[in-house]
Each structure stands twice: as C-alpha cells, then as structure tokens.
Amino acid sequence: MIQQKSYKITFILLLIILVILWFLNISLGSVSIPFKDVFASIFNGEISKDTWRTIVVDYRIPKAITAILVGAGLSISGLLMQTLFRNPLAGPFVLGISSGASLGVAILILGASLISGISAFAFSSFSMAIAASLGAFLVLSAVLIAANKVRNTMSILIIGLMFGSITSAIISVLAYFSSAEQLQQFIFWGFGSLGNLSWNELKVFGLIFIIGVSLLFFIIKPLNSMLLGENYAKSMGVNIKRTRNIILITTSILTGVITAFSGPIAFVGLAVPHLTKLIFNTSNHKILLFAVAIVGAILMLVADMVAQLPTSEYTLPINAITSLFGAPIVIWLLIRKKTI
C-alpha cells in the first residue's frame, strides 16, 4: 500500500515558527519595549507607558500582519505562475506582473498632475489597489497571449522581461514629466515598505487578499493535472479556459494589492516555491498552496526584522532586503539542481 504523505508535523512546526516570529517581529523595533509590555499591549493588560501601546498596536502589529499577507500572497502568485507557465523560473516579478502593477500606481500618482481634481481620490488606498491590479492584469494577459504563441519556456521568460522593460520605460517617461514632489512620493513607494498601513487600510488589504485567495479553492484539482501539461489536463476533464482565467484573476488581484500597499517586492514569488519544495517534497497543490503561503509569510517576517535593523532608528527598504537574499537563493538553486 502506498502512503500519501500529509506533512502534518511539518505544517504544525512551521505554524509554531510563524507565531514565534510574529511575536519576535512585534517585539523588535527602533524603540525597545520589554516583552512583558508588548504582551500587555496585545492583550490589553497593564502597561508601563501608553506610547508603547500605541507603537505596538497601531504600528507594529499592522506591519507584522502586512508582512504575512505580502509574503503569503507573493509566494502563492509565484507558485501559480510556475504551474501555469510550466516554468520553474516564472514569478510575478520575472514575468513583469509586478512592473505592471507599478505602472498602474505610477499612472495614478504621477499622472494625477495631468488631470487635476482627481488627486484627492487618487491617493486613497483603495484606488491604488485597483490601479495596481489592473496594471498587473494587463501585463499578465499580454504575457499569457504571447505565451500561447511560443511554446518555448525560455522565450516566455524573455517576453515577460521585455514587458517589464516596456512598463519601466513608460514609468520613466511619466516620471520625467511629473513634479519633484510626486516623484519623491513615487520613489519612496518604490522602495517597498510594510509599515505604512493604518488599520483601515489593512482591512481593505485583508479583504481583497481573502477574495483573491478564496478563488483558489476552485482550482486545486485542475492545478495538479496541469502538471502534466494542458493537453493531458484537458483529457482528464479540466476546463482549461476557466482554470487559466482564475489563475489570471487571482494573481492579478494578489500581486496588484500587494504592490499597491507595499511597493514592488522582488524575488519572494520566485524563490519561496522552490524553498518550499525543498521542505515539502511534493507537487500536490493541495499541500503546496498552504505550504508556500506559510513559508512566504515566515520569510517576509524575517526580512522585515532584518530591514528594521533592531535597536537602530533606520529602516532599510524591504525590496533591497528581499533582493539581497532572494537573488543568491535563486542562483544557488539553479546551480545545485540542473533541473528544478
């Protein structure tokens, strides 16, 4: 009899690590707050200083939750892209989808000067999320159409990179014509940050995130059969068009909303699915989707702790941290295994 592994113990361990890291994450920061008081502020207990409570509740907790959503969402998008394009090097950043989301935001922030009067609306977090999702959807659709014409996996990656270049170029043109103030706002957004969200924005973020992720439950089974290629999947009764559309919509929503709220974050989507497959030696999406979400969340919490350089008052751009860690991981993966 063949046992299908359920990886229960691995999941429990990872969840414990996630919870510990979450507490660590909110305990560390530019202001040092004793553990006791961090706990007190979470659980509404007695606290030595009221400002500490504000720091923990209104700044650190939203940031830690954002980190979890960003890490989980980008990793799920990466896994979906790798399965859809049958390409181990696909990911939201590589395929230009994050750039598409940036373009949406750029048009909103930088283009606002061209059409006066909408600027108040433009900077609401909700409109940023919509613009970014639309941008992501646009680029992903274009890549998908191109991918149908060329079967070669390398060509698909290059096409993705080209779309990324085109969107970056358009952003540069927009930047050239915009005011210094707007440019500064856009550049800071581009560094990526997990810490700018208020509780209200986080609610919007969380809601959109849940809508995006819940669509996935419909395609766990088709995703598995896509592992054999589209023709086999079709012969096993999979509705390819519907599956592809759901992947398209979910990835656009997740990448879009994440990019809108925390800037374009590189390498998480590409690297996490591979790291996860080192721990979970399976291709079953029923396990992998949850696994990449947890591993992605863990890595993002770590990246955030590194970024805020404990005890210092500086916070490094999160995008720099994920690239510094992510790029070498990808190179290492490529060298270690000839076929991933």
Binding site: Q4, K221, G229, N239
Partner: protein
Amino acid sequence: MDKQSILKTTNLQIGYTSKKKQLRIASNIDIEINEPKLICLVGKNGIGKSTLLRTLSKVQPKLDGEISIINKNLEHYSSNELSKVMSLVLTEKLPDSNLTVFELIALGRQPYTNWVGSLSQIDIDKVNESMQLTNIENLANKKYYELSDGQLQKVLISRALAQDTDIIILDEPTAHLDVQHKMETFVLLKKMADELGKTIIISTHEIHLAIQSANDLWLMLDNEIITGNPQELIENKSIEKIFSSEKIQFDQEKQQFTLK
C-alpha cells in the same frame, strides 16, 4: 435500432486553421469501430497520423464532417464527460515536477474524484490495479523524472488505464524505445484490448509489430484511409501502398518492408 458504435467518422476533414486559410491534411475520412479491439494507424511521416488522433480526441478541432464516440457526437461531449470515455497517451514531454509515479497515475482518477481531488479507496484500488497490469508496482514511490523511457511509457499507459475509459488513444507509444520495450508495449496493449475489452488506437511506425498484434490496421495514404485486418490488407496488397519509394518493397513472407 442503432447498433453499438464505439467510434465513427463521416466525411471527416482534418487539418489546421490559421487566420486566413485552412491547411487541409486529409479529407473524406470514414472509419468505424464497432467492437473493442487494438487498432494500429500506420502511414509515412507527415501524412497526418498525429493530426487524426488529435482530432479524434478533441485536442484540436476538426475542419469538417462528423465524429461520433459511443453513439454520441463528439461536439456534444463536455471535457468532463469525454474524460470518462477516452484517455490519452501523448508524445509531448512532461513539464518538470516533483510527481511520484503513484501520484502521476492517480491523476488519471481526476474525472471521478471530488473537488480537491482526494482519492477514495476505490480510486486507490484502481491505481494499484493498473500498476499491476503494467507491472510497475515497484516504481510507485519513484519520482517520474528518475525513470527510463521504457518505464515512463508504462507509467503513462498505466495512468490512461486508471482513467478507466473504454477508448485509449496513444500517439506513437513505442518511439524512443528499444526492441524489447517496443514488443512488450505491443503485448501489453494487445492484452488490454483482449482481456479488458478496451478499444485501443495507436499510431506507430512498427509495421512489423502492428501486423502481428493489431486486430485492424488503418493505412493512412495520400488520398484515403484503408481499413481492415492485417492479413486481408497484405493479401490484397493495400499495405504496399504505404511507401511509394522505389527502394523498398513489402516482403509477403517475412511480413515486413525490406530493401530492394
């Protein structure tokens, strides 16, 4: 009353449609299968064997004519319904993944599993059964990329078996295999047709093996498809029409093509 028809085509035209023009590869295809058997589709390279099989399995659209599968028009099958009557073994290379042999074969149960694809005891039994038939139980926990070409072919056939369909279509299942594995594959397919009552349609270049094992041959020629059992086709010399080269001939005694 309609007699039982497993597969029937009427005036079928196959080929490719691009934006402006149609590239017709073969037309006036009228073939019929009324009982489970092993059918070998033979013909020279580029004559359209794969195109025919892809059209019959709805992987690509037909240009014109009718195809009916088990007394029902192919057009009227949803992909889920079709997946319960027809399974495929294709020549395309599988994308990289971590699937084990067991998992790969279990994917064949997808038409029957619930929305997350959990395997019931029946599904697991079916998977084990089809692994026994193809004699690959010892490979169950291997990753599929660790297999040799011969083993992988058996796994793919096993997956099609697990899908539990009346019709199995295989596109050149013996390409890339050595002589032993080629013969074993034919024996296996023959067994599946005879003992399990499957209708098996394969395209192949192994004319010699096809003559020995097939119930029927479909000879795909430039303008027509000739069908019939192998001995008939040898006697009325139809089989010699497959190749038009001056340099080869069909040897009636050895039942294979030889150099002149």
